[in-house]
């Protein structure tokens, strides 16, 4: 009984701690710098309450659901020993979670506007929709490929920092050739792709794999998948820009 109660209250208290800084920042800037009253105080308080309960529920759900599942599947894949299925799973996980990501859909739409204004594509609904769709597919493809590469790295034990440095080098080289209007979008797309549900799952997958494969260290080899997933979209999006123009 006591345990149950503690399990319910502790995430709530943690959520309060996690959200306090936002509230302090808002109060300070609204009251001291902008010198304005807070509009719709009751709505704000209700919204904060939702955020609080939502965050607590989410974290609890991660601990009992997403993390154990991700790790159990990673163990099962390692035991099965079939690399093809593991890589296909990795690809689909990356592709599937990215293609429907709302943040990405929003960014792709904006990017199409930029391209139309700069004259890279025709200024018509059709051309812009095509461009945005192509961009979304490019990013989703790149995240799928990134997770596959990251899993291969764990399997073969490649040192992460060398992979990332090679990636950086590619980014710098391609930046030189990419049309100017795509660079900002490309750099941003690296950060946008990794959503709130993908990150815990992918992390659990990496750590689970590194734990079940002999000779791999979960701290050294288990992390790093997200790093691939935020680097590869930059390269792919800039290539997309080069090909389109």
């Amino acid at each position: 009984m006591w345990n149950r109660f503690r399990n319910a209250v502790k995430p709530l208290l943690n959520a309060v701690r996690d959200l306090t800084p936002i509230i302090v920042v808002i109060l300070f800037f609204q009251g001291v710098v902008l010198k304005q009253p807070i509009p719709n105080l009751d709505e704000l308080l209700a919204g904060l309450l939702f955020v609080l309960i939502g965050l607590a529920l989410f974290i609890r759900g991660l601990e009992i659901g997403l993390f154990p599942l991700g790790e159990a599947m990673a163990h099962a894949f390692a035991k099965k020993g079939n690399v093809f299925w593991l890589l296909l799973f990795a690809f689909l996980l990356g592709f599937g979670t990215t293609v429907a990501e709302p943040a990405l859909i929003a960014v792709a739409g904006k990017a199409a506007e930029v391209a139309a204004q700069s004259g890279a594509i025709k200024h018509s609904e059709m051309a812009m929709a095509d461009y945005a769709f192509g961009l979304r597919m490019t990013v989703a493809l790149s995240v799928g490929t990134a997770i596959v590469l990251g899993v291969l790295r764990i399997l073969f034990g490649w040192p992460l920092h060398l992979c990332i440095m090679a990636g950086y080098l590619l980014v710098v080289v391609i930046t030189y050739f990419a049309p100017e209007e795509i660079i900002g979008i490309a750099y941003d797309s690296g950060g946008v792709t990794t959503s709130t549900i993908t990150v815990p799952l992918v992390t659990a997958l990496g750590v689970g794999l590194a734990t079940s494969i002999r000779g791999r260290n979960p701290v050294l080899d288990g992390f790093g998948l997200i790093a691939f997933a935020s680097l590869l979209p930059m390269i792919f999006v800039m290539l997309y820009g080069v090909i389109i123009s």
């Binding site: 920042v25 902008l34 529920l57 759900g61 599942l69 920092h161 941003d188 792709t193």
Partner: protein, 264 residues
Amino acid sequence: MNMLDMFVDTMLSTLHDVLPIAAVLLGFQLLVLRQSIPHLWSVIRGFIYVLLGLALFLMGLQEAIFPLGETMARQLTDPHFLYGAAAEIPKLIQWQDYAWVYVFAFAIGLATTLAEPALIAVGLKAQQVSGGAISAWGLRIAVSLGVAVGVSIGCFRIVTGTDLWLYVVVAYVVVIIQTRFAPRMIIPLAYDSGGVTTSTVTVPLLAALGLGLASTIPGRSPLIDGFGLIAFASVFPIMSVMGYAQLSQKIGKSQQIKEEDNAL
């Protein structure tokens, strides 16, 4: 909109996000792995918690924090606030005039990253896997500081109109140099933290800030200069996390030496 309608709406769009993931997981579980999941009921309960939690979280953000944050970003970048209501707006802007914008960018970057659910998740996992050698809270503070500094510099870039790629290349060089000296254990986590920081809470607020800045400063195009803040928020945490590890290693070492001295 009615609260209940809004909740159903957010719930449906969250479900839409989760569905492809659930399909991939379930498909592989049933068709390829064909093994029973341990603690199936608690996993299902966990999924329901995640869904409900994320829907509530997003709804609360949209209801309370985003509108206010976006209004504040607009007001802070408004020339009338910066130069006083009556004063004339100068043709050539000076980057120092935007001091409050940098402070706001720093504060909002720090605060929103601390509340980022994906980062909390990675922090928990890192602490668990490292057996407590990496503290979840320490990692989160290091990442948040990195985002805060990154976003402030990103705003400075928009105000001055300098090239994005220059900053990114310099940042990469610093990251590579740090990689050489940082404790090995932290490197994968540091690289990961770059991608983790920017999701649900941070991205919309940063986008509003970047767009607000780029659309009020003469000579900047919101479409071209408005982008790029997220890139800053993803590179700087890599540096700050490695820096944090280097610092705590140094402190650990000097303490050890002191203790040895005391023992002698």
